[in-house]
């Protein structure tokens, strides 16, 4: 047993670390770190810088821009990226639809879409959930009827993250309503400019426009936009969700947030000193760090097993990483809220005109509560933590 990275791995870490911190604009990284809203342009700029270095999609097959990295290198890459507060390459592109097309799409689709996905020339969004189909995704109702060379799509998707920016949406649609629900689902790529698509914003509790409802009314989709085989969409969706769940622990993100909280706590005056002088507060931060360390080692164990067996098949342990990782992300936002103290009450929204001074004299407190509020989502999406526990109970414990 040995915790240390090899010399090569250390060199690799130094290389990616310095790249992230010198090449990605500091302004974008600052926004990520402070939990501010990123513009569409911010995502595009950041991803294109990575892609120019061939690092936007290192986990893809080599011929489509992947890197011949070991699982350990991939792990180092993602952790360093998160710790440098670099935006993750757009999830929907790089971790969802890209790998699905690479694995199940036609040659034609791969050529047409993959390079544009990697470079964020096309922005993709995920059209899985529906009002009646959340945890029970397979009960989805959006229907696609074959008419000649087209599918005609009718129905509604919801919770579509950043759908307002999207050029394309990948959807699970029902192509056969007569069979068992998982067996009648297809995976369809839909151009958002197609007539009949309406996007309605949903404002989340942090006051932002992050998700949408998307309505499909008689939307005609060419049959060449079907991925793989008709009625096999559920298999592709399972492949995608498993990918989504690995690497969702986001330990680097939690570490970055803790580092920032420590810096902020040293600026928050309390009595004759600062919040960081308060032993109770320090103990609470330390106790989160200890859990995070344990999770980091767990994650490394999973990665090491993958290296040894050469298998990149997601193992059920990834559900453990997702549960613990998401809970810890939420706990770090609680510490942030505590650091902001009473000033967390204020939004940056000043009523009436006037000089727009930051509230409370700190330029970060107005983002503390929204960050806490927004992070409640991490235990809900990507398969809620209740569903993950069901998965572990079944797959690991055999219950």
């Amino acid at each position: 047993m040995d915790l240390r990275f090899t010399e090569e791995e250390n060199a690799f870490r130094d290389e990616v670390r310095s790249f992230f911190r010198t090449e990605i604009p500091a302004e974008i990284r600052r926004k990520v770190s402070e939990g501010r809203r990123l513009s569409r342009e911010d995502y595009v700029i950041s991803q294109r810088i990575l892609n120019a270095r061939d690092w936007a999609v290192p986990h893809w097959p080599l011929e489509w821009g992947g890197q011949p990295w070991t699982p350990i290198q991939r792990y180092i890459f993602t952790e360093e990226l998160l710790q440098a507060a670099v935006p993750l390459p757009l999830q929907f592109n790089c971790y969802m639809v890209g790998p699905v097309i690479a694995a199940f799409g036609s040659e034609e689709q791969k050529k047409r879409f993959l390079p544009r996905i990697a470079n964020l020339d096309d922005w993709w969004c995920q059209g899985f959930s529906e009002p009646g189909a959340g945890s029970d995704l397979a009960s989805l109702k959006t229907r696609a009827l074959r008419e000649g060379d087209f599918y005609v799509v009718d129905g509604q998707k919801t919770w579509t993250t950043l759908g307002q920016y999207a050029d394309w949406i990948f959807c699970l649609v029902r192509t056969d309503p007569t069979v068992k629900k998982q067996a009648g689902i297809s995976f369809l790529l839909i151009d958002m400019k197609t007539p009949g698509i309406t996007v309605r914003p949903i404002i989340t509790i942090d006051g932002r426009h992050e998700v949408n409802e998307i309505f499909f009314d008689n939307v005609r989709v060419p049959i060449e936009n079907l991925v793989g085989e008709e009625n096999k969409g559920w298999d592709y969706a399972k492949f995608l969700l498993a990918n989504e769940r690995t690497g969702i622990a986001r330990i680097g993100l939690s570490k970055e947030r803790i580092a920032r909280i420590k810096r902020l706590a040293k600026e928050v005056p309390v009595g004759t000193g600062t919040l960081w002088d308060n032993r109770d507060f320090r103990a609470r931060v330390a106790s989160v760090e200890i859990e995070l360390k344990a999770l980091e080692i767990t994650q490394m164990r999973v990665v090491a097993t993958q290296s040894k067996t050469g298998s990149s098949k997601p193992d059920p342990a990834s559900s453990i990483l997702k549960i613990k990782g998401s809970e810890l992300q939420q706990t770090t936002t609680e510490l942030l809220l505590e650091a902001a103290g009473p000033y967390a009450l204020l939004t940056g929204d000043q009523i009436g005109a006037g000089p727009n001074e930051p509230p409370g004299g700190f330029d970060w407190v107005d983002a503390a509560a929204p960050t806490y509020f927004n992070n409640r989502k991490v235990t809900i999406y990507g398969g809620s933590n209740e569903i993950q526990r069901n998965v572990i109970a079944r797959a690991i414990l055999g219950l």
Binding site: I205, G348, S384
Partner: protein, 384 residues
């Protein structure tokens, strides 16, 4: 021992419950009130006056109705259940509290009748940027001159500070910055020259104001309570306010728990209501336990807030706030989780309860602060 409301208190509860249920029957209505010029409904405020709610805690000889902490609790719970935006806490409980405990006969006569009829709103200008939760950390100064007192300094987080007509301002007339001695309270008209305000929306749909006093001149008539001796009043009235806020939190938790249980019964996934999953049943039960623990401490605070034993009173209030905060966090987080995506949206009333509960946690001392207060005096159970 008796935890029942008297028949009069039951009547009060019925009438305020009815008013809130009709006025705050939907999120749309609340949003409409929030967008009114003052950030709440002046029509509802007038109804509060008609019902006698604005005069509730004042003695009959001062023009009020002689209610006590339990009456305040009944009202605040109802306001919490409806997620009311009206500045009852700041005007009646906080501002009114200072007048009741520290006001001179002239001050009471001048202001209380105006509060009772709904013409006068108060706010407390106390917190400062560096103070966090330390009530004695006051850098704002009031200097005595031949024209009265000149106030200089900045106050933060003045709840409902933009709609207030009259501020209770704490300022230092002597002593070191964090000394309890040397704090004097003043009643300051909001239109006095030398006051500038910047108001922000708060995370829970309310408003709070940052106030700057620069060379603000007030007469000696404005002094509220003894010169240099304002701190005990600050502490006492904020204690009463914490008791009232606890009741608001319990009302909000009650509504949110109810919403969650209803949602578990109606939301279907996998062909069944999600409330049939045992793991979710247990979570809803844990929420109920947190709510009941909070309710007990809400009552404890209401019964202890009038105690003459200041040490006992302080510990009780801090203990209540710790429990309220913990329950509020647990109930709020669990409610969002059990709702899934819908719990994350501004379109859903449940999310607004969650936000209000989160903010209640940080008002007048967070969990860490009050836990420290209880621990510092050796806890609630005497050592063997």
């Amino acid at each position: 021992m008796n935890f029942d409301l008297t028949p009069e208190q039951m009547l009060l509860k019925d009438s305020i419950d009815r008013l809130i249920a009709s006025r705050y029957s939907s999120l749309e209505k609340r949003e409409a009130y929030r967008k009114e010029p003052l950030g709440f409904s002046e029509a509802i405020w007038a109804q509060f006056a008609e019902l006698g709610l604005l005069g509730l805690p004042f003695s009959e000889e001062d023009g009020g109705f002689g209610g006590g902490p339990v009456e305040t609790m009944v009202v605040m719970e109802a306001l919490g259940r409806g997620l009311s935006l009206e500045p009852y806490l700041t005007t009646v409980v906080l501002g009114g509290g200072f007048l009741r405990h520290a006001g001179s006969a002239e001050q009471k006569a001048a202001y209380i009748p105006e509060i009772v009829v709904g013409n006068l709103k108060l706010a407390l200008a106390q917190t400062e940027r560096q103070a966090r939760y330390d009530l004695a950390d006051i850098a704002t100064t009031a200097e005595k001159t031949d024209r009265g007192y000149v106030i200089d300094g900045q106050k933060s987080l003045v709840l409902a500070g933009d709609s207030a007509d009259l501020f209770v301002v704490s300022a230092r007339t002597s002593g070191e910055q964090r000394s309890q001695y040397g704090v004097t309270l003043f009643l300051v008209d909001a239109n006095t020259p030398g006051i500038s305000r910047r108001t922000y929306s708060t995370q829970d749909g309310g408003r709070a104001t940052e106030i700057e006093f620069s060379g603000t001149i007030v007469s000696t008539d404005a002094i509220l309570g003894p010169v240099d001796g304002g701190y005990p009043f600050l502490e006492h009235v904020i204690g009463e306010t914490i008791a009232a806020l606890s009741a608001e939190a319990v009302g909000a938790m009650e509504s949110l728990h109810q919403l969650t249980v209803e949602y578990l019964k109606t939301r279907k996934q996998f062909g069944v209501s999600i409330g049939s999953f045992q793991t979710l049943q247990h979570r809803a039960v844990d929420m109920l336990m947190a709510l009941e623990q909070a309710r007990s401490m809400e009552m404890y605070a209401a019964m202890m807030v009038g105690s003459d034993n200041a040490d006992e009173r302080r510990s009780a209030i801090s203990a209540a706030k710790v429990q309220i905060n913990r329950s509020a966090r647990f109930v709020g987080q669990e409610a969002v989780q059990l709702h899934g995506g819908i719990g994350m949206t501004m379109e859903y009333i449940g999310a607004h309860y969650f936000k209000r509960l989160t903010m209640i946690e940080s008002l007048f001392g967070d969990t860490a602060h009050h836990l420290h207060q209880v621990a510092r005096v050796g806890g609630l159970v005497a050592a063997a």
